[in-house]
């Protein structure tokens, strides 16, 4: 009985929680299949359902461009940030590089509201002739994700792991080998989560993209925000675009399935 409860209770809690998260999303899907008039009808009516809004976002708006830019910028900036942040976090945690002051300094830049940083940042990119380019957006996003990812990863490199590495070093492993073959695998769940965090930070970033992007380099957040117009919110196409923009989650699912489980087992190796 007790064992059964132990097995079922987590699923009950998780199901309830998932439903709370999911219900608004279901309503977004519903809005995406109808028009503004029906969307605001109370009591709700089914109305005529259709895929018009999905056609709309591709025909009336450069949705593909927005999506591609968001995806490319998020993937590239994460792909660069992750190894860099991992290395920096490792040096902070294991070798105390630069001491507490450097560690705080790295994060301090992120404690200023971005609205204050955006003017000089624009100046920097203007100076090197990179405004409106994807490169500038990737670099700007790196400046946000590097501090956070490295802080996060520091906590994964601390603790017992040092002993494991010592053992490996005694067995003749080099610094590099200890890092790559002992530390990184043990911290893998953290690195995976950091990757996810980096992707999300870039994917949702609004202000820097708003100021630094050009017509061809707008991303989803800036593009979709333009559906809030001076003549009202185009809520139905917006809902459709939101649904489509959640696709990366489903693209990630197989990857997650493999790595969520694998991350667990790697942790269990210790």
């Amino acid at each position: 009985m007790n064992r059964l409860a132990k097995k079922i209770v987590p699923h009950i809690i998780l199901t309830v929680f998932s439903l709370i998260i999911l219900m608004p999303l279901v309503w977004i899907v519903r809005v995406s299949l109808t028009d503004k008039l029906t969307a605001y009808k109370i009591p709700p009516e089914i109305g005529t359902l259709g895929l018009n809004n999905y056609v709309d976002i591709f025909e009336r708006f450069p949705f593909v461009t927005w999506f591609a830019n968001s995806f490319i910028i998020a993937i590239v900036s994460t792909a660069i940030a992750l190894p860099l942040a991992t290395a920096m976090a490792y040096s902070f945690a294991r070798l105390n590089t630069g001491g507490a002051l450097l560690r705080l300094g790295v994060l301090a830049s992120q404690m200023l509201p971005p609205i204050i940083l955006v003017l000089p940042l624009f100046g920097v990119f203007l100076f090197v002739g990179l405004t409106q380019s994807r490169v500038s957006l990737i670099v700007a996003h790196l400046s946000i994700s590097l501090p956070f990812l490295s802080w996060m990863l520091v906590s994964f490199f601390e603790g017992d792991m040092a002993r494991l590495e010592e053992a490996a070093r005694v067995d003749g492993a080099s610094r590099w080998q200890a890092f790559l073959l002992v530390a990184v695998p043990v911290a893998a769940p953290g690195i995976l989560a950091a990757g996810l965090l980096g992707f999300i930070l870039s994917w949702n970033e609004f202000l820097f993209v708003l100021v630094l992007s050009g017509p061809g380099t707008q991303t989803l957040p800036v593009g979709l925000a333009s559906l809030e117009t001076h003549a009202g919110v185009e809520i139905a196409p917006l809902a459709a675009a939101t649904v489509v923009s959640l696709l990366p989650v489903f693209a990630l699912l197989p990857f997650l399935r493999k790595h969520l489980i694998k991350g667990l087992s790697l942790g269990a190796l210790k």
């Binding site: 987590p10 699923h11 809690i13 998780l14 929680f17 998932s18 998260i21 608004p24 977004i28 109370i42 009591p43 709700p44 290395a87 040096s91 902070f92 294991r94 070798l95 590089t97 705080l104 790295v106 994060l107 301090a108 830049s109 404690m111 200023l112 609205i115 204050i116 940083l117 003017l119 000089p120 940042l121 920097v124 670099v139 700007a140 400046s143 802080w151 520091v154 906590s155 994964f156 610094r175 890092f179 911290a187 953290g190 989560a193 950091a194 965090l197 994917w203 949702n204 609004f206 979709l224 809030e228 919110v233 989650v249 489903f250 990630l252 997650l256 489980i261 991350g263 942790g267 210790k270």
Partner: protein, 294 residues
């Protein structure tokens, strides 16, 4: 003796080598803007006259601190940050513990809870404004169906900040879950096995093993979430513009207005620097606390 010294030097070099690429990038991109902001905060720099001709010393700082609206928004932000970080942490930790204990359906739960995180705050705000429309929104409709009075979600000075907090929890709680779950996954298994052999109860192994071992991850998670919560701006901008009255006037939105509506970048920079001071102090405190644990 000598050997250990060269070892130490080699360690140090290795450390700098590992962090150099990140540091170089941050120096190149973000150091100048930070320096610029601090430099601007002691000058009379406005968008109408964007120059550093007039050094004003602490004037911007003084006028910011003397401004009751700024103090109000600082206090409100402290409340907001405490509320969202606390609720999201408690909820997120429970869900993370549950997720860590299941195998079946795990990717499905995980996939669902990632969805809000992939929505930009602007979209979240617009969508929720629609759901929370007092007379045409689905939320009030459902409430009246089960017999409640319709709620004035964003139009009441008492309710509005809680509405923002609730929407923020829906949007950001998964952030906590992702990080905490990663911490739980990376935990060593032996202590639990030893505890089980010793006959420890579930709550005992939670309080004596999980919690202490998770502390570094927990603190960093709280810290990062806190920094983001302080910077909450888009949600306010879309949902209430700080109103009704000044009920949801968070500090980041107030700084935005000072810079881009009042055009006073100097004072906005001073306000940002004050904010930076507060967060930095809190970070140092948390960091010390974290060190003291290990």
């Amino acid at each position: 003796m000598n050997q250990s010294k060269t070892m130490e030097a080699a360690d140090r070099r290795f450390g700098w080598f590992m962090s150099a690429p990140s540091l170089a990038l941050l120096l190149a991109v973000i150091l100048f803007p930070v320096f610029w902001a601090l430099f601007t905060s002691v000058h009379d720099y406005t968008l109408i006259a964007p120059n550093f001709d007039t050094f004003t010393g602490a004037e911007n700082y003084i006028s910011a601190i003397q401004d009751p609206a700024f103090r109000h928004s600082l206090g409100l932000t402290a409340f907001f940050v405490a509320a969202v970080v606390l609720f999201e942490f408690l909820l997120g930790f429970i869900v993370a513990l549950m997720l860590n204990s299941v195998e079946r359906f795990k990717p499905i739960y995980y996939g669902i809870l990632l969805c809000p995180l992939l929505m930009n705050p602007v979209i979240v705000g617009l969508i929720w404004r629609m759901f929370l429309h007092p007379s045409l929104g689905i939320v009030n409709y459902l409430l009246t169906v089960v017999g409640f009075e319709p709620v004035n979600w964003l139009g009441s000075t008492q309710m509005a900040i809680w509405t923002i907090i609730m929407v923020d929890i829906w949007h950001q709680v998964s952030f906590m879950i992702v990080l905490l779950l990663a911490g739980l996954s990376a935990m060593p298994k032996e202590p639990y096995e030893a505890a089980r052999v010793d006959g420890a109860r579930v709550y005992q192994s939670f309080f004596y093993i999980t919690l202490p071992l998770m502390m570094p991850v927990i603190i960093v998670t709280l810290l990062i979430r806190m920094i983001f919560a302080v910077k909450t701006y888009d949600l306010i901008y879309i949902m209430t513009r700080g109103g009704p009255g000044v009920a949801t006037d968070l500090v980041s939105y107030s700084i935005y207005r000072t810079a881009f509506v009042s055009l006073n970048v100097g004072e906005a920079s001073a306000m940002s620097a004050i904010l930076l001071g507060f967060i930095l102090l809190l970070t140092v405190y948390l960091y010390r606390y974290m060190r003291s644990l290990t």
